[in-house]
């Protein structure tokens, strides 16, 4: 069967020369056929769009998700309902925040312990979480790729120094390293040359998370570069006297692009989890700013009465991370050279 089909294709090619599909087109075609990956991408994009609409939602709902509104009163079915309800029975101890109203624009997910609209904070929190995860991914890819390229291509002392430095970074438990960096940076901010990053800036968690994951990218990239460094086309370029920087930029980098693309969703998922964990520990996003991690932390004190405050961002993180991971797997399958061979046989 295979032979006759192959023969048919061959005859057709001879009869009518066909424009051959490039590797990117093949990969995209393969990705499109992966329904789970495409569904995950759609889910992730929906979450992204929802989070991007956070300022619009807050304006529409008429709420300020960053200010305490303990005395606020809202209207539900014509009745006035306090956002924070004081206990009137027994000893009259404690306040309970409003529960979910399930009405968009009117405390859909209820209020937190400061009387703030949880839905608005969830959207703003998602915006911050996604921004940090995305920016940290770019940071990690730039520095990890640079380190991997330089170490793998130049070898020798350069490789030894860079690799040992990455080993040291790798040897630290990720969260311990992130917490140590956070405690130093979050309290005082940092100044690198002319650039000063204020202590409350979202760029701080970006840098912290970006730094701790550099070895995760640099090591596999270095391995790939080591192998490419000894390939015939690179050796030929070297013998022709092409400068190293040009070889790295023109010959090696394009050959590791697929690996880098696969890293993007997977690193984003990892960075989202790390950001949430750091913010949960109060060393990521600083109040009154929100991230999904800080909202979980706020909700921790309400687990008994208003579990939705912690559950909602938890679910959002789980869905986003799962979507990114499934999409990342699909992307890897699509960009895998072995997959391309299979795709060509079809």
């Amino acid at each position: 069967m295979t032979i006759s089909r192959g023969a048919a294709v061959s005859n057709e090619a001879v009869a009518m020369p066909r424009k051959s599909r490039g590797p990117w087109a093949l990969a995209f075609a393969k990705l499109k056929r992966n329904r789970a990956a495409m569904a995950s991408l759609a889910i992730f994009l929906l979450i992204l769009i929802a989070c991007l609409s956070a300022p619009l939602y807050a304006r529409w709902a008429g709420v300020d998700p960053f200010s305490s509104t303990l005395d606020a009163v809202i209207q539900i079915d014509g009745a006035e309902v306090p956002v924070m309800e004081q206990s009137t029975e027994g000893l009259g101890l404690g306040y309970t925040p409003l529960g979910p109203t399930w009405r968009l624009g009117n405390y859909f997910l209820g209020a937190d312990s400061q009387g703030r609209d949880v839905m608005a904070r969830l959207l703003y929190g998602g915006l911050n979480s996604l921004f940090i995860a995305g920016a940290a991914t770019i940071f990690t890819l730039i520095f990890g790729t640079s380190a991997g390229l330089v170490a793998g291509y130049f070898g020798g002392v350069t490789d030894t120094i860079l690799s040992r430095f990455l080993d040291v970074l790798w040897a630290f438990p990720i969260y311990l390293l992130a917490i140590s960096l956070s405690i130093v940076m979050i309290a005082q901010g940092i100044t690198i040359g002319p650039i000063t990053i204020e202590s409350g800036s979202l760029w701080l968690p970006v840098i912290i998370i970006g730094i701790v994951y550099v070895p995760y990218v640099a090591r596999p990239i270095r391995g790939q570069v080591l192998s490419l460094r000894n390939s015939e086309f690179v050796l030929a370029a070297i013998n022709l006297g092409v400068p190293g920087s040009r070889i790295l930029w023109r010959d090696i980098l394009p050959n590791i692009t697929t690996t880098l693309i696969v890293f993007v969703p997977l690193m984003m998922a990892l960075n989202m989890l790390t950001e949430s964990a750091l913010s949960f520990l109060s060393i990521g996003v600083q109040p009154p700013d929100a991230s999904w991690g800080t909202i979980i932390q706020d909700g921790q004190a309400l687990l008994y009465t208003r579990p939705i405050v912690a559950l909602a961002p938890g679910i959002a993180i789980a869905i986003s991370v799962m979507a990114l991971n499934v999409f990342g797997d699909g992307l890897r399958d699509a960009l895998d050279p072995r997959s391309k061979v299979q795709l060509g046989r079809d």
Partner: protein
């Protein structure tokens, strides 16, 4: 009027007569069993000369004794000083600089050793040898203390603590009269330990004790077992009464949520940590008979750094004091049952306290509402509008929520504010150190002993401010020479006329409040949740619930 007085006296007498046999009955009937306590973690070192925590001090009460003690009584009576290891309160001579105590006979440590005057002198030396946290403050007035502070290892307190073994007397000499000296002697940092106790932090190793109980086992990760001291014979019910339970089992590691559930289910009898806020409604309705609300001599406040912009400007500080809505803060703490709004430094019912609130809508005795217009006007006048302010808070639910609220208040009156929660373990020292340039923070102060100076002089005295030190308890960096001199006068006056001194402290309280080096937020109350089987709950204003005075059977 006379009849009424006679009737009152008779009632008091009858109550007094009636109390003794009733208590004897109670002891018989309820004596025994194990009372089970919970805390998220241990209170640090077991060493009473070093431990400086509420949790530790509470547990030391039935365990250790000093020459004098705070009376083991309910409420404000707990602020009274009574003789403990000493037969009577000291004879004071030499213009209030010499205190002579006669030691009781027949008292033994839990290891069977007799208590002697040697143990007393060795214990005073040990306060300095282990560099106790209050050795440089509370006990620095003892003659010879300066040498001990300079060279801790060879501390002898020569001339400061003099003993007469034959007469069993201990004489303490202090450099200048101190009206609060007996309070300081009644604190756990001055308890008497066996003379051969190593002069180092004993950490997890229990030290033999003279009290009704002894620490028989301790694992900082698991718990502490406190059992009856086999050599204890009650010598003073008001200083060291016998207790009801045979064993106090203090377990560590359970979260506050789990602790509440354990008490509800009768698996534990009490928890040290604050009750989680989302359980308050449930506890206040379904378990109200098991809750005890008690007033505390404490202050939640927001220190404003008077040496850094914008709060180096008095008007900027007053603006914040006017803007803060104390009723919101009370809500964040759990409601008005658990806290009361305040403007001033000294807590209600405290010596020197006179109601005063200049930072409210209608200035007077009590806070009524924030005055945002006035606050905004003061910010304008101060020329500090638009400046950046960072608020440093503890990483706890309540402290964080207060920080977030204060951030929104500062923003509303024209500052660019942010809030930074940092680990509870380091926040207190972090905000004290001037190198960290903290502009504003949220902190709490719980009295060491019932004297106005313990709030005013300690928190706002010039001597309490130390540049670049983690132990600069004057967090605001406030130093007003005139007020400082007045505080010194009040301290001196207290030696001869405490009532007049307290009047003076009331004036000082008002003067400091006016200058707003800190914003008074609220006075908290203590909420204790006990199991159904706990009886005879008694709350002492000095050291909180008297654990062993309650019974469990």
């Amino acid at each position: 009027m006379k009849k009424l007085l006679l009737a009152a006296s008779a009632a008091t007498l009858l109550a007094g007569i009636g109390l003794a046999p009733a208590q004897a009955e109670y002891i018989k009937e309820h004596r025994g069993g194990t009372i089970r306590l919970l805390a998220r973690s241990a209170a640090g070192t077991l060493d009473p000369h070093i431990n400086y925590t509420d949790q530790g001090w509470q547990m030391y009460q039935p365990v250790y004794d000093g020459l004098v003690a705070f009376r083991k009584a309910e409420g404000m009576d707990g602020f009274t000083i009574v003789p403990d290891l000493a037969e009577a309160l000291p004879e004071v001579s030499n213009d209030g600089k010499t205190f002579t105590f006669k030691l009781r006979k027949g008292i033994k440590f839990s290891n069977g050793q007799d208590l002697t005057v040697k143990d007393v002198v060795a214990s005073f030396q040990r306060i300095f040898k282990v560099s106790g946290p209050t050795s440089g403050t509370f006990y620095a007035g003892i003659v010879g203390a300066d040498k001990c502070l300079a060279d801790t290892k060879s501390c002898t307190l020569e001339g400061g603590v003099v003993v007469d073994e034959a007469a069993s007397t201990v004489t303490l000499n202090i450099a200048k009269p101190d009206a609060e000296f007996l309070y300081k002697l009644a604190l756990p940092h001055a308890v008497t330990l066996p003379a051969d106790t190593p002069a180092e932090d004993m950490g997890s190793k229990p030290i033999p004790s003279t009290g009704a109980y002894m620490i028989s086992a301790f694992d900082p990760n698991k718990g502490m077992t406190v059992s009856r001291n086999p050599h204890f014979k009650q010598w003073s019910e008001e200083a060291q009464p016998d207790g009801y339970p045979d064993v106090v089992q203090y377990d560590y590691g359970l979260s506050e949520e789990a602790g509440v559930t354990a008490i509800q289910n009768g698996e534990a009898d009490w928890m040290f940590d604050a009750l989680p806020s989302d359980r308050l409604v449930e506890l206040g309705t379904k378990f109200k008979d098991q809750l005890h609300i008690s007033p505390l001599s404490a202050w939640w406040y927001a220190p404003l750094n008077t040496r850094l912009a914008p709060f180096d400007n008095e008007k900027a500080r007053q603006a914040v004091a006017f803007a803060v809505d104390r009723s919101t803060l009370v809500k964040l703490f759990g409601g008005k049952v658990l806290a009361s709004p305040v403007c001033q430094v000294l807590p209600p019912d405290f010596p020197g306290h006179e109601d005063y609130c200049p930072f409210t809508k209608n200035p007077g005795a009590k806070w009524s509402a924030p005055d945002l217009d006035k606050a905004k006007q003061l910010v304008e006048e101060s020329g500090t509008k638009g400046q950046k302010v960072t608020i440093i808070v503890e990483d706890t639910a309540v402290s964080r929520s207060i920080g977030v609220y204060l951030q929104s208040v500062l923003t509303s009156i024209g500052y660019v504010a942010d809030v930074k929660p940092i680990s509870t373990n380091i926040q207190f020292t972090y905000i004290q150190n001037t190198n960290n340039k903290v502009q504003m923070s949220v902190s709490q102060w719980y009295k060491d002993y019932p004297a106005a100076s313990d709030f005013l002089n300690i928190l706002f005295g010039c001597a309490s401010f130390r540049e670049g030190s983690d132990a600069s308890i004057n967090i605001s960096g406030f130093c007003d020479k005139d007020i400082d001199a007045k505080m010194q006068k009040a301290l001196d006056l207290g030696v001869t006329d405490q009532v007049a001194a307290d009047k003076m402290w009331a004036e000082i309280d008002k003067q400091i409040t006016d200058k707003a080096p800190a914003v008074g937020l609220f006075t908290p109350k203590r909420l204790d949740f006990v199991s159904k089987r706990v009886g005879n709950f008694k709350f002492n204003r000095q050291f909180n619930w008297m654990i062993t005075q309650s019974w469990v059977q």
